[in-house]
């Protein structure tokens, strides 16, 4: 499995390089905040580990996972919202 994941990783890096070199400098800030929002995908991991820790089991894991959900959602919600705000400014003059 590990080699499969490594392959996926390598291919995704190449796809990333291919698309992102086409982004014009004007959009570099929205690209950065948009990409950042995508890195909030770690929310999937946070949801899984938080959801698998019912109270009564190791509560410490639940608390840490809850913290992870908070940080990841700040990243996701804030990242997409602020990118949208910026892009609307670019679009209205398009």
């Amino acid at each position: 499995m590990f080699t499969l994941y490594l392959t996926i990783f390598a291919l995704a890096i190449f796809v990333g390089f291919e698309i992102i070199t086409k982004v014009p400098p004007t959009l570099h800030t929205p690209l950065m905040s948009g990409a950042n929002a995508i890195s909030g995908i770690t929310i999937v991991g946070a949801l899984i580990v938080a959801g698998q820790t019912p109270l009564g089991e190791d509560a410490l894991i639940g608390i840490i996972a809850c913290g992870a959900v908070i940080f990841a959602m700040i990243n996701v919600a804030g990242g997409f919202a602020v990118t949208h705000r910026m892009l609307e400014m670019f679009q209205k003059k398009g």
Binding site: Y5, V44, V82, K93
Partner: protein
């Protein structure tokens, strides 16, 4: 539970909900495709809003797919209150911050979001690791938790123990460096924490704590039953991140922000290896690649190598001529009225903004002045240097906020092609990125850095508070050139006066 009875990956299903796993996997693939097309949309201002919405729908899809696991051993609903509570709190904080932030504070905001992404990955890896240790403890009888039992707990969820351990350590290191580094970058951008420091001790400490974090990481891989080692990894990497960003200041911020951006993606990617989840690996590496490209662009735009930016020290400014020698008796100052007269009847004007425009928040006045000129049939363009400001594209965002059409924003190379035909070039709060020394003086610390050749314009008006040097700490011969006029004053105030003077003409 015996390993052979279960056929699922961590976070994936068990027999009880056999349909869930394939559906989840398909949805994850669709989410990854939406991310790719989302970023593709960002290649043009017209398609960018839709691109961002596509990426957002990919994110929501991935989250829904995760929550489909509704029963069985792997159910994510057993502890639903943890993620409901965290989700509400995080979403509210994120949305409110996104709503309230001023466009001029965007670099700080991006730094904070980067940091929370890194912190999330660091915590997820830690929580997952503790989850396995907890399961192993459940399996252990009198003997206590051993590495074998943890390995069995991991295999029970169809993951590979060695991959999990290594990815956990890597995720902890990258996530923690991203978190603390971004937070320090945030403080620095707010001006709450000193500028650049050339103290070599900081770089030594950075390297030292990195090695300590790696050493704890190796130890963790070798003896995973010692769970506190993960937090030792995380804490030493947090300290490493602080020393990593501490020596970097001012004009190098665009490079750091881009690199931290890349790190936040790579941390998510490493977390993907921890929980054996492909959507995390794909999206994390997309972000990682994006950040690396931006870092590269920023380094090229400053003619500095990666190693020089992060581990080197800028050449001492002492070698060059002193400010007095450069400026003595040659600087011509001017007034808003004179500049207004100068602008009367010209054909081409190019405005070159720098960080000073962001500080004085003068983008709206700039737009007003440009519009007045355009009404008088003057051709107005903006020359944007790639590293002007504190993050990639900083100037573009500010000018877009002021409703400047993006086709007026020209890149450095484009501007340099026609700069000799520009009648008046207005340099607003920029310094090092227009210093002709970079082109003409091979001894200069910024020699070879690509600049906007504003000195080649027929007349160059520099709006600046004083003759104080920019980040490179060197005098700028541009200010003493025959075709340069200095309009001293605070950016916004000076521009307001210029706007008034233009109206009267």
């Amino acid at each position: 539970m015996n390993a052979s009875e279960v056929t699922s990956a961590f976070g994936a299903g068990v027999e009880a909900a056999g349909w869930v796993v394939p559906v989840q996997n398909i949805l994850y693939v669709i989410a990854a495709i939406l991310f790719i097309f989302g970023i593709k949309g960002l290649t043009h201002p017209r398609t960018a809003v839709n691109g961002n919405l596509r990426a957002l729908s990919g994110m929501l899809l991935a989250m829904v797919a995760t929550l489909l696991m509704y029963k069985g051993e792997m159910s994510v609903w057993a502890g639903w209150y943890w993620w409901v509570a965290g989700g509400i709190v995080g979403t509210l904080i994120g949305l409110i911050a996104a709503r309230l932030v001023k466009m001029t504070a965007m670099p700080e905001m991006v730094a904070l979001y980067n940091g929370s992404g890194g912190a999330a990955s660091m915590l997820v890896a830690g929580a997952v690791f503790m989850h396995f240790a907890h399961k192993a403890a459940g399996m252990a009888g009198e003997g206590g938790v051993t590495a074998e039992l943890i390995g069995e707990a991991i295999r029970a969820e169809n993951a590979d123990p060695m991959q999990t351990y290594i990815a956990t350590a890597v995720s902890g290191i990258i996530g923690a460096v991203t978190a603390s580094g971004s937070f320090l970058a945030f403080l620095k951008l707010r001006g709450k924490f000193g500028g650049a420091s050339t103290n070599p001790t900081l770089k030594l400490l950075n390297g030292l704590f990195f090695l300590i974090a790696v050493a704890f990481g190796v130890w963790l891989v070798l003896s995973p039953e010692t769970t506190w080692l993960y937090w030792a990894v995380a804490v030493s990497a947090l300290i490493c991140g602080v020393f990593f960003v501490m020596p970097i200041g001012g004009a190098d911020m665009p490079v750091v922000i881009s690199l931290l951006n890349s790190f936040s993606g790579l941390a998510a990617c490493a977390t993907g290896f921890v929980i054996s989840n492909t959507v995390l690996i794909v999206s994390g590496s997309l972000v990682g690649a994006s950040g690396l490209i931006l870092t590269q662009i920023m380094c090229v735009a400053m003619n500095r190598s990666w190693t020089n930016t992060f581990f080197g020290v800028m050449a001492e400014a002492g070698g060059g001529p002193s400010a007095d020698e450069v400026y003595a008796g040659k600087v011509k100052s001017t007034s808003p009225d004179e500049v207004a007269m100068l602008l009367d009847g010209v054909q081409r004007v190019c405005i070159v903004p720098g960080y000073g425009m962001a500080v004085s928040q003068s983008q709206h006045v700039v737009r007003d002045i440009a519009n007045m000129l355009i009404e008088n049939d003057v051709e107005v363009t903006y020359g944007i240097h790639p590293v002007a400001g504190r993050m990639p594209g900083h100037m573009n965002v500010l000018l877009a906020e002021a409703d400047v059409p993006y086709d007026q924003l020209h890149e450095m190379d484009a501007v340099n092609k026609y700069i000799e035909q520009v009648d008046v070039c207005i340099v607003l709060g920029a310094n090092d990125v227009v210093n002709p020394d970079a082109r003409t003086n091979p001894e200069s610390p910024i020699a070879g850095m690509p600049i906007i050749d504003v000195d080649k314009a027929r007349t160059c008006v520099v709006i600046k508070r004083s003759l104080s040097p920019g980040f490179a700490g060197i005098p700028n011969p541009l200010f003493a050139m025959d075709n340069t006029l200095m309009m001293f004053g605070d950016g916004k105030k000076a521009l307001n006066e210029l706007a008034e003077a233009l109206k009267e003409n």
